[in-house]
Symmetry: D3
């Protein structure tokens, strides 16, 4: 199978915030959330390529609303673009207070995974064909995010990042 | 005390990679590492401002070398720049195989924390005065990284990011 | 709100089987799975009644297929019937080998929760109105399962369990 | 050895309820207790047959008294009847507040395990010979409980469950 | 109640060695065992004095036989002597391979706990009256072990440790 | 390499006290601290001999100041003396309240580890050459502590412990 849709990799994770997940304010620690997001993203990537995967990078994450002890964490992960052997995963995270029936956005993030063959070398993954309008929008942004990653990782010079350069020069 | 040095917040964490921290390849999962990094960074920020802190954001992290089961994780965290109520923490992570006497760079990252007063409102933190050449270099880069964060968070337009714009236009 | 539908409480949980969850055969331990099921069921019950809940009982569970280390556990929980202050939750559990694209039924179960008010006394919960054919079927079986629970708990005599008695006498 | 007594498999487990084991009321979560019970029962079954075992099923459990944070959980497990390759384990659970010198019954349960040979196939286990009056009573009830399990698992029709049928028809 | 017997505080703990408890040889880590022993000893001390307790000290422990992954740890703890507000707890630890029916001594240890009143100040505990020959023997050795603790803690000079001095001078 | 210095094995560990690490007073449990100390000491020993190690014994530990929930634990471990195949590790532990800028001594301890070859047999370790005055002092005390261990372990008679005997006889 050489083509897959974003929905094929959709992974829904639900976690309850327990005492050991919280800081002194009784709020979920950022690191615990990134741990859960890493697993959700790994499962989505694994589903897309049907091969073991490893985390290659995580894009800038900003934590908007604290999630309280006893609240629920909802994580939705699905692949947003496939490159040769790497996959970008789009994650959305919400908190929810089930007693108050209050659900709130916590953050959004992009994790990148690489698929490995049995010798632990990168292997080709299926192409992603976006379907919905939202899928297409994140698919298109993926090139720009990839340039940010390459520049921040010191593997590309800003002047060579055509997609990104346009934002600054023509804006 | 209104001024502090980076060395005042230096936090050194050492962790042993246990079975439950690893994926099917027997390598440390990225999410578990981000969890430990979040705690190391929180301690460094807490040390700088002597007040409780919460994770505000995490910059792009790229994972370069896998860390194996039974290897050691070394994390060094210290504050790289203080803003009004927020602090940017610079983290360096190494893996080490103690039997083979082999220590290797895993990744480098920047976490941002906000100091809170007893009412959970942001509070002023001491200024950071960099000392060494390396401290000064990461201190200067902090403005540019902050613009990246603001742009990625939708709180600044690329054309207003003077520091960043220079990289693309004049390079 | 005095009436709710099963779909309103649907809770989807996805967990990855890690080394510490497994026995010497490398298979998920039954007790770890019941722990996850308890949390999924509690969240579904909490969603239905918007009040804190506690586990009252768990019906007979039989474990059909072992779930391997590195496989994924899918749990779907939704309320199957509401009584005065108690709710019966229907859970379905699958394992999945993402590399082999093989998803298999692990088990099905019924947990019962009680809603508590701030004084920790039982409180009235909304009525459940089943919608789909499947919802209606499990809704109808709930009375019979409740009689089994009461008999096994020594709170009802077999001869008073009309629903259940019919199965044995007229079959 | 082809015969064993219940006392030969007696397993006594004592656990302290820590913060992460509790719900928002500060009481032990049902799922955590079932996790501990599963391990206690597995050890008792393993002791009886001197072979690795896996959880086959768990009978209806009803939770009678909440066990508080900081209280102690006492679990006693011993085999109640052996069939060909499966063993029924009888568990009794108490909570205890050591400061108040107050010990209370929490629940009673039956778990069933299957013994496996090195090829992971079911293997014959020693016969159980009950000794005390209480041992004999639970031994005798085992056939009836087994019929309940088979009926609930869809592997027996109510009309063929002679032991069980008697309860409803002649009572 | 001002007097109690050793048997009144007997605490039996049984733990299964899971992957995360083991080192690279697949053997239980010493630190994990000392963690379980601390809890068993705390429960025995709590039972003796019916008040919360804190660990004051741990005597020399030597680990004699490695306990393997999947083996069982048996811990027996009971109070060996009571002083004013402190209690010495005697622990015995065995490992067991249930498949091979092989049970072996792992170590023996003495932990000391202090009872606290609601203001967190030391409080008087009941006297211990030893019953069996073995109880009496460990009861008598307690004075000598206490002198070792005081000398090692820098709170007594060797020449003032009459009990201990006799061993070296007259032996 | 047949000689090493204490500084070569220095291991610095920093841990945050989370809810599940604490007792009912909200203080770090002694057993959890001994678990962390065991890992820090194992890493220091592993660094000295570049071979896997196992815990052989732990000397008397006395807990002086409680470490509170949310405080930081600092552990410094380095080798204090090497014998044939065993190494004595010296540990110092502090607690720290980062908000109050208050750092306090918790305890000091000596753990002994044995280096193992691939067949799990003891193997020769490098000699330790102490450098600083403090290093030399703990190095010299090591013989005396070893005699205490041998006597307490029943492997030496008090009268044969020349170093120790001198303390009692000539003091």
């Amino acid at each position: 199978m050489s083509e897959k849709k974003p929905i094929d990799s959709l992974t829904i994770m639900t976690e309850l915030v327990l005492p050991n997940d919280t800081n002194l304010f009784g709020n979920l620690m950022g690191g615990r959330l990134m741990y859960w997001m890493d697993i959700a993203a790994a499962l989505a990537a694994h589903k897309h390529c049907n091969a073991p995967v490893v985390t290659a990078s995580v894009d800038n994450i900003s934590f908007e609303a604290p999630i309280k002890l006893g609240n629920v964490v909802h994580i939705e992960a699905k692949i947003s673009r496939a490159f040769n052997s790497s996959m970008e995963i789009h994650l959305k995270v919400w908190g929810e207070d089930l007693t108050q029936q209050y659900k709130y956005k916590s953050n959004e993030a992009f994790y990148t995974f690489v698929a490995l063959d049995p010798n632990r070398k990168p292997r080709i993954v299926p192409t992603l064909v976006p379907e919905t309008e939202e899928d297409k929008k994140v698919f298109e942004g993926a090139l720009r995010r990839r340039q940010v990653r390459l520049i921040l990782g010191g593997k590309m010079k800003p002047k060579d990042a055509a997609e990104l350069r346009a934002l600054f020069v023509n804006d």
